[in-house]
């Protein structure tokens, strides 16, 4: 899949510290340069499978049941920017840490953009149906250990080169696994909300009375 030519700058700036900070020319140039470099090395890959609900393998805890309520099918997906993104950030950590921080933020933006593109594709392939937002292992009471189930069911190591370590951290790091429900009935619009977020106690945005947007 191909990425858009531009990454979402506003989101990158929020990752870097917030929209309230004055963006100097130097900072702007640094972000431009990092964006160019990142986009030139990454080759995003993804895979989706549709499963009929209830799918017992992935139903663990209350949150996912609530999340998929009213859905008769769900799409499981995995996506990654690939090993080169990690490598680029690793190299920058040796040669120029300021750059590494910018690359890291941009890569986080990029994988989220990839996921949004996948959302759109799923929606296009299932006309007339409604898609819940993506729910990932580690959200709320949805166990991170399900990462292994997701990767196995999606055949992710072989299909897109995505695997995990013993602590269930995805490798490459700039990757996502998630499940989104498909429903014939409209799904009430809601934000993902902070309640299920593992960062809820330390989040910068919340501290400043903001919301990350998810």
């Amino acid at each position: 899949m191909t990425l858009p030519e531009k990454l979402d700058r506003g989101e990158a700036i929020r990752y870097l510290g917030g929209a309230g900070i004055e963006l100097t020319d130097e900072m702007n140039a640094l972000i431009d340069d990092c964006e160019r470099e990142l986009l030139s090395v990454i080759a995003p890959k993804y895979r989706c499978i549709t499963v009929a609900l209830p799918c017992e393998e992935i139903m663990r805890g209350e949150d996912i049941r609530r999340h998929l309520e009213g859905c008769d099918r769900a799409v499981m997906l995995c996506a990654t920017l690939g090993a080169q993104a990690d490598r680029l950030i690793r190299i920058a950590q040796v040669s120029d840490m300021a750059r590494a921080v910018v690359l890291d933020s941009l890569a986080s933006v990029a994988i989220e953009q990839v996921c949004r593109m996948i959302d759109e594709m799923i929606a296009a392939e299932n006309p007339g149906e409604y898609l819940t937002f993506r729910f990932s292992p580690g959200y709320g009471d949805y166990p991170i250990e399900l990462q292994k189930t997701f990767l196995t069911m999606l055949d992710a190591p072989r299909r897109i080169g995505l695997s995990m370590n013993e602590s269930c951290l995805l490798i490459p790091a700039k990757s996502v696994t998630a499940v989104a429900g498909l429903s014939k009935e409209p799904i009430p619009k809601r934000k993902r909300g902070c309640a299920v977020c593992s960062l809820k106690n330390t989040c910068r945005y919340r501290r400043n009375g903001e919301h990350c947007g998810f």
Partner: protein, 791 residues
């Protein structure tokens, strides 16, 4: 039936098709993984094997692809049970009509540096499989995407059985594996390690593999294997899109590249094998010799020694105080920075020497090689006088390295050359022996000849023995330069070896050394020098090599030369003269900061500059960051600029005899299980910049290593990071071990250590609950904590 007698009249060997596809089509149900069917449905599995043998397969792969201890963990069966049953099923189906391969796939976890599985752990997983599969006729290592993992598997196979080994990797449409391995690097490395055949499986359809197969054959003499998918699966029906007939046609197009072993992967069935058999009937296998000459590589980058190539010499502590100190401190950043800057300067291969009397050289060599390989693609040259260090490095190097070095002494020949052969490296041969360095070219040539003969007797290609005729200091022995060059010329023309030479020694004791060095370099190049070992960061030296490559006709159309010197990048903004120290630091302007500091030192006291200008400037930056007025990268840039200023002041103080001490020593580590270490690395940069000495243990660090380092180095301030909720437990365990260790306790039983912690999901309450002393919300607060601890 044995492996040697396998090949029929036409010389090809027919492999089988997919096992998974047949299992899927049969609708057989299994609880955990398809390998468990070996025990629950042995007859079914045997029937699939039989179908392939009846279609013509001469080698069948036992149903053991994922039968490793990691994947089978909660299957209810042991690796031994599954593998023995798998081999037994295949043997019973074969009844001597086909050979049975133990099929070994990837473990399912990524190795370091991308992942956290250690090389030796990977080796142990594979070793268990190889031993369990002792009844198989040969070993197949397949669907690999990481050359490093495949190397662990090959070594495990070689060291635990004497069966033939077939090794195949999976390449994507961009011609690389998921981890970035190129076919050329795979071919070179696997040939060197001594597999019996290599190639490609899975990946794509045979219609899309020509590029990969053509590249593989250019870099190996070995027969190739092609076991492609039946095209691409339809996302909905999961049916593959290439028919058996078309599959065979596409494979037939690949035979000209020296393909000898053919079969099918995902989506293929016995029908595909029948079609392959029919297609092969009127063809015969033609071996294709390797086209490339001497080459070395990392997992992603091949350097062919088909023209002079620059070996960077700077990762060598000899005569470098700062480097020696970095080795003693276990500080790898120094080495990594050297590696990156040499490549930037034009080095194509890097020499790595970490010899120092106060350290464990083998351990450091492994650490240096693996760390460099995690950030740098250049092939490496493992440089040590100790065979044990060479072997440690050779084992853990990813790709095909150079060994530096062997010499004409019997002891050296007998200990080093077998290692070079076993691990498939190239080697530098020094023309000296127990009697020292011969004075004449003839004497050196004779030693070179001896080295080459001994290498060839072990099966090492003479083109991969790089003879070093040794540079002597011209100010001491003026005639020696001529002898070196004469010897070099003879070695190149008469022995047909590649040559290398450390260039810089020539000018010891003379003024304007760079001029002497670059002139000598040019002379040596003209006599046939292939591999100058030199400082690539001296423009005159690198320039001489680049210009020579143009003038001698290697650099076609001067493309590389133009790329190197026709600088299209906008030139760096000129240093602003008017900037003052405070704003240089604030704006993160390193060069300006250093220049202003130099100027200020002429009129003001060093400590006054530090206390009245630098520290307040840094404090202002810190405050602005805290208040959300600047971005994190700006804080880092400012800290870097301040460090540049501190360096200037340090040099000044050292010159004026007022030595300077570190503000304090701190251990940093990202806890066991956690691999997200960018936060820890940011803290490290800042602490460094504020004058603290940081001992960085890296990521995924075992609690015991942290404690051992604290005890052995006498450091009692420890910073820990964990990014994920799942790894906070690890942080707690680490702190608990620190508190429990008697050597880190005061006589009254209280802890000597101060622990500060940070990480995205960590809260102050939790930090206190798990026994930390300081909770640091961000990198700036880590510096504040350090200030409070050390005063």
């Amino acid at each position: 039936m044995d492996f040697e007698k396998l090949t029929g009249t036409n010389g090809f060997v027919l492999l089988d098709g997919a096992m998974g596809t047949l299992i899927q089509k049969s609708g057989a149900e299994y609880r955990h993984s398809p390998e468990t069917l070996n025990i629950t449905e042995p007859d079914l599995i045997a029937s699939f094997h039989r179908a392939y043998i009846e279609a013509g397969s001469q080698i069948i792969y036992a149903n053991t692809f994922g039968a490793n201890a990691y994947k089978l963990a909660d299957s209810g069966f042991s690796v031994e049970e599954i593998i023995r049953a798998g081999v037994r099923n295949a043997k019973s189906a074969a009844e001597g009509r086909a050979l049975v391969a133990l099929d070994v796939g990837p473990i399912g976890m990524l190795l370091e540096p991308a992942g956290s599985l250690r090389f030796d752990e990977a080796y142990d997983y594979f070793k268990q499989q190889i031993i369990a599969g002792q009844d198989a006729d040969l070993i197949v290592l397949e669907t690999m995407t990481d050359l490093y993992e495949l190397k662990a598997a090959v070594l495990a196979a070689k060291e635990n059985c004497d069966k033939p080994i077939l090794a195949t990797m999976t390449f994507e449409r961009d011609g690389r594996t998921f981890t970035g391995v190129s076919p050329a690097a795979a071919a070179l490395t696997l040939s060197g390690l001594g597999v019996d055949a290599l190639g490609v499986n899975c990946s794509l359809g045979p219609d899309e593999l020509e590029g990969v197969v053509a590249e593989l054959t250019r870099f190996t003499d070995l027969p190739l294997i092609v076991k492609a998918n039946a095209g691409l699966p339809d996302p909905n029906s999961n049916e593959y899109n290439i028919s058996p007939k078309r599959f065979a046609e596409c494979v037939s197009e690949l035979l000209k590249y020296g393909v000898r072993y053919v079969g099918g992967c995902c989506g293929t069935t016995p029908e595909y094998i029948s079609e392959l058999k029919a297609m092969l009937a009127d063809r015969s296998y033609v071996p294709v010799p390797k086209e490339a000459g001497a080459c070395v590589c990392s997992a992603s980058t091949v350097v062919e020694i088909d023209r002079p190539r620059i070996i960077g010499e700077r990762i060598n502590p000899t005569g470098k105080k700062a480097f020696q100190q970095a080795l003693v401190n276990d500080d790898l950043d120094y080495i990594l920075t050297q590696a990156l800057s040499q490549v930037e300067g034009g080095a194509e291969i890097l020499d790595v020497n970490v010899g120092h009397p106060e350290i464990d050289e083998a351990r450091m060599m492994v650490r240096a090689l693996t760390s460099i390989q995690s950030v740098c693609d250049a092939p490496l040259q493992i440089d040590s006088t100790k065979p044990a260090v060479l072997e440690a490095g050779l084992r853990r190097y990813n790709g095909k390295p150079i060994v530096n070095s062997v010499n004409g002494e019997e002891k050296s020949l007998a200990s080093v050359l077998p290692l070079v052969k076993k691990y498939g490296a190239a080697v530098v041969g020094l023309t000296l022996d127990e009697n020292g360095i011969p004075k004449t070219a003839e004497g050196r040539f004779a030693i070179a000849k001896r080295i080459v003969e001994r290498a060839e007797a072990l099966g090492i290609d003479r083109r991969e023995v790089f003879i070093d005729c040794l540079t002597l200091t011209v100010s001491a022995e003026q005639d020696a330069c001529r002898e070196t060059l004469r010897a070099l010329h003879r070695v190149k023309t008469e022995l047909g070896c590649r040559t290398c030479l450390g260039v810089s020694n020539i000018s010891f004791g003379l003024p304007n050394r760079e001029l002497v060095n670059s002139t000598f370099l040019t002379m040596a190049l003209e006599e046939g020098l292939d591999l100058p070992i030199m400082n690539p960061n001296l423009p005159a030296m690198t320039g001489a090599v680049r210009a020579y490559r143009v003038l001698a006709g290697f650099d076609k159309n001067s493309l590389d030369f133009i790329a190197a010197y026709n600088d299209t990048k906008p030139s760096a903004p000129k240093a602003e003269k008017t900037v003052d120290l405070t704003s240089a630091v604030y704006r993160g302007l390193k060069n300006e900061g250093a220049a202003v500091t130099e100027q200020l030192l002429q009129s003001r006291d060093a400590m006054e500059i530090v206390n009245e200008l630098l520290i307040p400037a840094l404090d202002k930056v810190g405050e602005d960051f805290e208040k959300g007025r600047i971005f994190l990268p700006q804080l880092i840039q400012s800290a870097n600029a301040a460090q540049e200023c501190f360096e200037v002041i340090k040099r000044h103080l050292n010159a004026s005899g007022k030595g300077e001490v570190s503000k304090g020593k701190i251990i940093l580590a990202t806890v066991k299980g956690d691999i997200h270490d960018i936060g820890k690395n940011i803290v490290k940069v800042l602490l460094d910049n504020y004058g603290y000495t940081v001992v960085d243990l890296g990521k995924d660090v075992d609690p015991q290593l942290i404690v051992d380092t604290a005890v052995s180095r006498g450091i009692t301030v420890i910073g820990l990071s964990a990014l994920m909720t799942t790894t906070l437990k690890s942080m707690e365990d680490t702190i608990s071990l620190i508190r429990r260790t008697p050597e880190l306790q005061n006589p009254d039983g209280t802890s000597k250590c101060v622990v500060f912690v940070g990480g995205a999901v960590l809260t102050r309450e939790y930090a206190m609950k798990i026994g930390a002393d300081y909770y640091c919300r961000d990198a700036k607060e880590s510096v504040d904590a350090a200030k409070r601890v050390f005063g």
